[in-house]
Amino acid sequence: MSMINYASREINCKLVYYGPGLGGKTTNLEHVYGKVAPDTRGKMVSLATETERTLFFDFLPVDLGTIRGFKTRFHLYTVPGQVYYNASRKLILKGVDGVVFVADSQIERMEANIESMQNLYDNMAEYGYDLTKIPFVVQYNKRDLPNAAPVVDLQEQLNPGWPLEDPAKQKPTPDPWHEGDMLVEQVEGTWIERAPYFESVAITGDGVFETLKSVAKLVLKTLS
């Protein structure tokens, strides 16, 4: 739930990085932490096990700039990816303004990706949130690995699109980030919409900011 604080002149929004275990959610945050100027970010908090697996969440507040005199402050959270931690994972979604699904591109992780995506839809629904109606982007991580599945296969499995019922939005919309791809189109007579997707190698930082900026922008546009 975004909060506009007129006293401190801040707009606070909550972004959650979701996805299967060991997919690179924490690495995304670590890269952001390492790259942004220290005066624009707060302390990074990680509630992790001794083996550095996220137990509850990682948290990083980042200021992305000023609009209309208001500091836009984004609180980035990751969830624990392991199936076992669903109870705590669900808690982190409370009040979420935007979601990044970090998929592990490796072929052998396809099933874990699908399971996690389903789990995301389910957990959002339990709060009464509709994932298809809030800012949501998909990041295909680990693109550098030799066993990475082709993006077209990942898209088909994880981001095939959802039926778009709002007539106002039913117009062909090209994907601004990928020439030739469509975010909104008519397939066999049905209008569908897909989440924007990004390819990344979080460990080197490739695609990390592109993903963050796109979802942050979508969130701010929902306020306008």
Partner: protein, 165 residues
């Protein structure tokens, strides 16, 4: 509802909150008080200067409360309306306010948990009334023309510019 929605805190609300928090501190002899929303955002604080990162503290507070909420449900309680964490020198008392925000009071040996608990009850009542009014206002502010709805209206260009490389 499709998403989590938006709400705003204006300067008048902020001042009223601060007045309540300051009164609480004065009468309970606690060190400082913070108000955190359920998503982990710090709304206000009063009292001694904080020696820690308040943003990180706020996110952990919300997580702490959420986890305890779930524990409560598991043992058949609707909620734990308050939590107490006892340290050697410093302790903290957390209380739910209107299911929306969390009041955190930090205190040391200059007072007792009993005193803090007693005084917090009154502040929770005062703040609950204030927040009920604020959220009611936020709900009726869905129509355009209000302060909240209009803040970023027409700011698409500025938003685009913010994210241009």
């Amino acid at each position: 509802m499709t998403g989590a929605g938006t709400w705003s805190l204006n300067e008048g609300d902020y001042k009223k909150i601060t007045v309540h928090l300051t009164a609480l501190l004065k009468e309970s002899n606690a060190r400082c008080a913070l108000l955190v929303d359920r998503t982990g955002q710090l709304l206000a604080s009063a009292g001694e200067k904080l020696s820690f990162d308040p943003t990180a503290f706020a996110s952990l507070t919300a997580a702490d409360f959420s986890a305890n909420d779930q524990l409560a449900k598991m043992i058949g309680e609707p909620e734990f309306a308050s939590l107490f964490h006892q340290g050697d020198k410093e302790s903290m008392y957390l209380a739910d306010v209107a299911r929306r925000v969390i009041l955190v009071v930090l205190f040391d040996q200059r007072t007792t948990v009993g005193m803090v608990r007693l005084r917090v009850k009154q502040t929770v009542g005062d703040l609950s009334a204030l927040f009920a009014e604020m959220f009611q206002r936020a709900a009726s502010a869905e129509s355009p023309g209000t302060e909240q709805a209009g803040l970023l209206e027409g700011a698409e260009d500025e938003i685009d510019k913010l994210f241009d490389d």
